[in-house]
């Protein structure tokens, strides 16, 4: 290596470092203009989550406390983790016939991977995914949820 090469190596090396420092320096001067950090627990009120965000499975109830679940167990079969357990009962119709109906919809949030396969499988769109994410509790048993509200019944006309 000649002396000239030696100094040119040093020069190109320092120049490349200066080029990189220019980028960093640019950010140093205008970092206040583009803030990408979210102050999470403080901005909880203004936090906007995507409408399709999959946080947990919920059963939609209308104003009359009625849901659309027929207790067909399609979601239970579609779930890869055994998250859903459906207990059915037999209601008596006005004609005096026995009709299968939902008794309890048990949902194990602690087993759920939010894969959305149960919602896809549901023929009556009774369950959906809710955009919630703060699921921490102190005891695991609190994550076992009952999705149908007390006293709710199936909506008229849903088969």
């Amino acid at each position: 290596m000649t002396l000239k090469q030696y100094f040119s190596n040093i020069f190109t090396g320092v120049k490349s470092l200066a080029t990189g420092m220019k980028v960093t320096g640019g950010y140093f001067l205008r970092h206040h203009k583009e803030k990408i950090t979210e102050q999470y627990p403080d901005n909880r009120d203004t936090l906007v989550l995507a409408e399709r965000f999959r946080g947990e499975v919920i059963m939609t109830h209308d104003d009359n406390n009625e849901h659309a679940c027929t207790g067909c167990t399609a979601c239970e079969l579609a779930c890869p983790n055994g998250t859903i357990k459906i207990i059915t009962k037999f209601d008596l119709t006005p004609e005096g016939k026995k009709k299968k109906a939902l008794d309890t919809f048990i949902y194990h949030l602690e087993l759920c991977t939010m894969c959305n396969l149960c919602v896809e499988a549901c023929p009556t769109s009774a369950i959906t995914m809710a955009p919630t994410f703060e699921h921490s509790v102190f005891d695991r048993s609190q994550l076992i949820k009952k999705l149908n509200k007390p006293g709710s019944k199936i909506r008229e006309g849903v088969e």
């Binding site: 080029t19 990189g20 399709r52 396969l117």
Partner: protein, 375 residues
Amino acid sequence: MYRETDIIQTIPGTDEMVINVGPQHPSTHGVLHLVITIDGETVKKVEPHLGYIHRSIEKMCESLSYRQFIYTTSRMDYLSAHINNHACALAVEQAMGIEVPLRAQYIRVVMDELTRIASHCLWWGSVAMDCGAVTPFFLAFREREMINTIMEETCGARLTMNYMVPGGVMFDLHPNFQRDAKAFLAHFRSKIDEYDELVTGNIIFQNRLKGTGFISKADAISYGCTGPTARGSGVSCDVRKWYPYEVYQQVQFDEILETAGDSYARYLVRLAELRQSMSIIEQLIDNIPTGDFQAKTKAVLKPPKGEFYSRVETARGELGVYIVSEGGTTPYRIKFRSPGFSNLSALDHMVRGQKLGDLVAVMGTLDLVIPDIDR
């Protein structure tokens, strides 16, 4: 002899010493355990020990139906989860003979390339961090966050999307998808030049990577390397070019080849692939045809008896999904050929005789994702 439980052991009669890197070591990017024989600073042998994150995904898949098993592959290579799901969906479609609608094919490819950009962004940040630079990590995560937001909007999840179903995709695109994706591309096009300025031209970074981790073309083939690792040695192995799936045949893109075979060549291949992925998305994003996003399929999938194989190009290389069906509702056997496993096997060859400090940089350019190696 040394015992694995000992942290440092010398080999009697020689100057060699055996040290353990990992499984809890930040530079192995996961729970990879390397048993390294060193002579002073020179690496004599590298022996990867696997099994720390084995979840027996292949065995688990045997008890899941053909719709259910797809989500487990998101947990293999979590950085290109969408592409893993794609490979599984392709295998099931091939087995069932399902025709995927053109719209779904376009959506799949656009999403694949977005995932590839997100994965390469994270790699770019982490390889720079392995060489001692912290700033690039934050810059790369800024871009990756934009892709994650796009994914969240359309797929409903940021990392383990599970957006693929046999016969198409789970939902239609979000109305804002095209606008957001174009905004991301415009943003990223200005920032990728910044990547070059900040890291590629940096003399320290170049000296760390140039000449280290060399693997020749013949060795790359014989170790079964795929993806950017092999293309850095001049092996033309892009599955998107050689065995085109979905609409890759219709898009114009180059297969990036470098012939140097060292760490820096692998770095350049990945950086150039970012630009190629951008160009693929730009070609497709405006031409997504209208129509169904999911083919009509039966509720229970029962492929005929036989063996089925599909392959895709993930961000790390070729992922193969091999399904043996006995005609039932669950597969008899599923085997995943993961790119990380083969690429890791070449690590010993790459770093033998080099300095211990270079090992981390070489591992960085291999872009190892440990759950992918150890399923």
